[in-house]
Symmetry: C2
Subunit: 249 residues, 2 copies
């Protein structure tokens, strides 16, 4: 691939430009794009203009730049994420209707959980998850399930690192985390009262394919009020149904 | 941007590679990518390798290439499509629960309707819509609503072209189409029995922002059995609620 004087490929710079846009900063001036992407303004301007010409980025009325619908379309229409999500959706709707608050589906991506779907009720309890957003494995219920059933290489890597504390309930001791993971493997569920936010409890279970391999975690976020465990049977049943649908698709 | 001997930019070729992946062909050999993208095999191989190195594409167990989760994440997390979808989702869930079958949200993109969300029940009537898929404006209920409230330039362009017939009910005469669009503007709803498939009826209404501008169409697909019009009040109420939520966000 063509390289700039710095030896960096065009694709590398395009990726850094796309990475500049986040849920918190979905619309950026070209200067902000250049700054966030660590590119000279002239380079960023030229690449942004090319991306806009192809519809991958769009300019809004205030001359700020945003992710274009065309990029979303190209990334979504053949995405494995979308087929997982389509198999899971009717079940996730039933789960959300039964439990309320938030129902979500996450997959392991690198060393984080990436959320591919979330259904939220109005007035639901606080939730850090958003679609296409990530959370650390050790701190979220979905992440803990994916970590518990992940490879030992992954577990050792995560356990070897400093584990960020979000609340006084976040499990940050490697010893405690090992015990928690063993419990998840034994019971097939994790309940995390206040691990990420004092007011919320995350509950997650694994979704398995025909060979028993864990493909995803399905979870609900409910108030941290002692009633949370009552959601477990509905969650377990949802995971079973999603697994069955994935196998039949 | 760096250009090949043919004068084509790297970005141009990347876009053509991404366009090769569709819901019908989500996994492709590198040769198939080259063929679909109209690129020499060596060029396609090199670009695919670069895209894989950045996680935008991934190779599966059979050495076929797929859209990567990373591309979906970058395209989704700051996408205007996702914020529209998040505002609409609780309402779309209620609509789907009430009417059953399929409930969906579409936006005008170019001269087609692009579906940003779809909720489908198991055993629901046939539906050509998928998330991130497109339909022609003249043949789908959502498309007709977006066309009716679109610019006259758009309307004249669509009316000037041959209009594809999907069933004997598809409106393909410009005169009839003009009358249909006038009726939609007057009544704020369109009912399309069998326009795309003999067994299905699409019903769509516009979603408006604070200034009355039409931002999207919300629609349901139900059996073509005469009962379809009973879904209209629920649909109209859903569009009103989605509009109110968009304004308050």
């Amino acid at each position: 691939m063509a390289r700039s004087d710095s030896g960096e490929s065009v694709l590398e710079r395009i990726v850094r430009i796309l990475e500049a846009f986040t849920p918190e900063a979905p619309a950026l001036t070209v200067s902000a794009v250049a700054e966030r992407a660590g590119l000279p303004l002239a380079t960023a301007s030229r690449l942004v203009a090319d991306l806009v010409a192809h519809g991958l980025l769009v300019r809004d009325d205030e001359r700020r730049v945003r992710v274009g619908t065309r990029l979303w379309e190209l990334a979504s229409r053949a995405s494995p994420t979308l087929s997982l999500r389509e198999s899971a959706m009717p079940v996730l709707e039933d789960l959300h209707r039964g439990v309320g608050h938030h129902a979500q589906l996450g997959v392991l991506d690198g060393e984080e959980v990436l959320f591919v779907e979330r259904l939220s009720a109005d007035g639901a309890v606080v939730n850090f998850t958003r679609i296409a957003a990530r959370l650390p494995l050790h701190a979220s219920s979905s992440g803990l399930v994916l970590l518990a059933f992940g490879s030992t290489v992954l577990q050792e890597r995560v356990l070897a690192r400093p584990l960020r504390r979000f609340t006084s309930n976040t499990v940050t001791s490697p010893t405690e985390l090992r015990a928690l993971l063993a419990g998840i493997r034994e019971r097939g569920v994790v309940i995390c009262p206040g691990h990420l936010h004092p007011e919320a409890t995350g509950i997650a279970v694994p979704v398995r394919d025909a060979s028993g391999r864990v493909l995803a975690a399905v979870s609900v976020i409910v108030p941290n009020d002692g009633d949370a465990p009552r959601a477990v049977p509905a969650l377990t049943e949802a995971a079973r149904r999603i697994g069955a649908r994935l196998r039949s698709h």
